[in-house]
Subunit: 420 residues, 2 copies
């Protein structure tokens, strides 16, 4: 069925879905019995929940502009193509951590997928102070699988290059990151916003912090040139859906072949934002102290379990064209290769911590903020949390190479959080 693009709505979506066997079986009944609710609260897309007598599905349709800003900021529908491409790739490696895909229509820029229930967006759970005992292990597994398996450490060169080719044209989505994450917070930019007047001074400080800006630009160059693996590209806690037992990663329309540390840093940075925002969600002073502790433990676990799984996958893999295992089969070779893997993981740690800091800053001084902080009604309290987050973020970027490990990150977070 060839379908010209048009934005769908409550009235037209059911008619598009009705002919799709897998979708209609899942919904049950006749399409006249289906209800459609638009629930998109993201920045870029229409998201519908379609419910029938038997069940529900999600229909996500790209709009030809940035929803957050309006139709003055056009954005190509091709991002839906890359989202589907990335979902399919991720599903090959960790199917249990992704929504099932029922249908993809390239012309309509429409992906129909599993309705996840009772999952909630992780960020909302973190605001409510909910503990997710299996999250750290799950996200570690997701990242290790998707990053390692799509890297030249695991695949032959030809496959790696085809994957680079396949994502190279996701230009406009990468450009959003290049501008909003790596550039705008460090200059006067129309789209920037922050909790004024409280953050006016620190925003100005960041814009004139030459060492900070150099380090961020060095990472922008890495983001532009380092095709290490297929990264999700937007792996914050708003792209993760959770129950206490289950975790799914959604929304990979920013996916491309980029630096692995960008994904790991997104997770760490957003957990650190959640950590620093807890004070603004306390019913009484100190009531979130145990939850803060839990968050720091998760941050440590995410890195440690990710690093462990990544190393395990590397140790098991024989198929990559980089560091071909056959070169390191004798005893000195195996030993030197193990040391090199440690060095690689250390570099990835420094990358991840630096990207974490960069991702935190853009959420406080740039265009797109997070509900963790935005939902703190008192601007003075919000600013207090934000300044602590910025202070930590800056330190992570400036000192990443001197940090001995993930506990140095959580120690710094704890020290800054406890200041008055």
């Amino acid at each position: 069925m060839s379908t010209a693009y048009r934005p769908l709505n409550d009235g037209t979506l059911a008619g598009v879905l009705a002919p799709l066997k897998e979708v209609s079986e899942r919904l049950g009944g006749d399409f006249s019995q289906w209800t459609v609710e638009e629930v998109g609260d993201g920045n870029l897309n229409l998201v519908f929940i379609v419910t029938g007598p038997k069940g529900s599905v999600i229909a996500k349709q790209a709009l030809p502009y940035v929803r957050l800003v309006g139709d003055t900021w056009p954005l190509p529908l091709s991002r839906s193509y890359y989202e589907h491409l990335a979902l399919a790739e991720q599903t090959r490696h960790v199917p249990k951590h992704l929504p099932k895909i029922y249908h993809y229509d390239r012309n309509l820029a429409l992906i129909v997928m599993e309705y996840l229930t009772p999952h909630i967006i992780m960020r909302k759970g973190l605001i409510r102070g909910i503990e997710y005992p299996r999250f750290a292990g799950h996200i570690a597994e997701f990242m290790a699988q998707t990053l390692f398996k799509t890297s030249a450490l695991n695949v032959p060169a030809a496959e790696h290059k085809r994957r680079i080719w396949g994502f190279a044209d996701n230009i406009e989505m990468c450009k959003i990151t290049e501008d909003l994450v790596f550039t705008d917070p460090y200059r006067v930019a129309k789209l920037n916003r922050w909790t004024t007047p409280y953050l006016d001074d620190i925003a100005a400080e960041f814009r004139s912090d030459a060492p900070l800006k150099v380090l961020v630009q060095r990472r922008k160059l890495q983001f532009l040139t380092s095709a290490e693996a297929m990264i999700h590209g937007d792996l914050h806690t708003g792209s993760i859906m959770l129950t206490p037992e289950d975790m799914r990663v959604i929304d990979p329309e920013f996916a491309f072949m980029g630096p692995m540390g960008f994904d790991v840093g997104a997770v760490l940075g957003n957990l650190l934002i959640a950590y620093m925002s807890q004070e603004g969600h306390e019913g009484r002073p100190g009531s979130r102290t145990p939850y803060r502790h839990w968050l720091l433990v998760q941050i440590e676990q995410v890195w440690r379990q990710f690093a462990k799984r990544f190393r395990e996958l590397w140790d098991q893999s024989k198929s990559g064209d980089a560091y071909m295992p056959e070169l390191f089969t004798d005893t000195p070779g195996a030993a030197a290769f193990a040391v090199e893997k440690d060095r690689f993981m250390r570099t990835l740690f420094v990358d991840s911590v630096t990207f974490a800091g960069i991702k935190m800053i853009r959420r406080i001084l740039g265009l797109a903020h997070t509900e963790d902080l935005e939902s703190i009604a008192d601007p003075a309290m919000r600013a207090r949390c934000e300044i602590k987050a910025l202070t930590l973020a800056r330190r992570l970027i400036l000192e990443a190479e001197r940090l001995s490990g993930i506990t140095d990150v959580t120690s710094a977070a704890r020290a800054i959080q406890s200041t008055h």
Copy 2:
């Protein structure tokens, strides 16, 4: 004119060229007056000199297999497409250092270009001991222009990504480098060869040198993942044609978006091979001492002038999306940016020196050797030169990060050359 691929020969080439206005005007006369001579001494292609009453042109046609090995090693004709793409790109930046292109036929995998005269392949000049006073400045300019101008330091992100996309499918040519440069010399491989029995021991040492292998594989990963700039990909002294006044770079069919240091290292490494091979070309002991000195001066000049020009181009450029100049306009910003540029150049130096060492080793222990050494008839003398080159190459790879600058490279070369 649509033309199905067929290998051309002395008899059929003139008929293909006759309808081409620019070519036939350059050759003059009627095509029955043209002479065709096949002169390809490379590893991959047919190369014809076509001469008419008025002048000559070169016609280069890709063969569907590796000429050096035979039709058991197929190689795609698309490399001619990438060669033309790279020639066109390089010509935009440094037209004076490239052959003029008269015609390109994608179906025939045929490029018709300027016949360079009285230019000779640089490697042959180095074997004869000819000094080229303008070479260092010219190759420095070529590399600075082509590498800087096609980097994200100079171009917007969208252009950078389109260039990555455009070269990403040159897979088989990159694979040759990945295998023959980065892998085979460090394992038992059918295609390896060396001056036996003299080099048997050192070849075995290199195959079991774990620290060396780790560093080489680290660079292979960089070659597979770092899309810094459009690199020539095979910039040895056989890809450079010279007169005392002029320099042209040819044969960029290995071009892709890769690490800049690979090109710079190819030049430095091949000059160092030339340096170490001089002893084998001496009429009497020491007769090439002044020329050896000249070569080391050129090596220093190539790096210094390249680094200087690259920095100048960077200082002048305002268009790159990486390190956007507008972020560093205040005094502390400008100072920090200058330091960062120095750091970038230092990294590029370490990259270049390491790749130089890697390129030297593959020319002595791998499949494809160089005439500098191959033309030394006495195998004991050839082995003596080769062992010195290997000793230097290994040291460059192992110690690159500890070298303070290019004179450390030339000092090491001099020290090793003067041993007995």
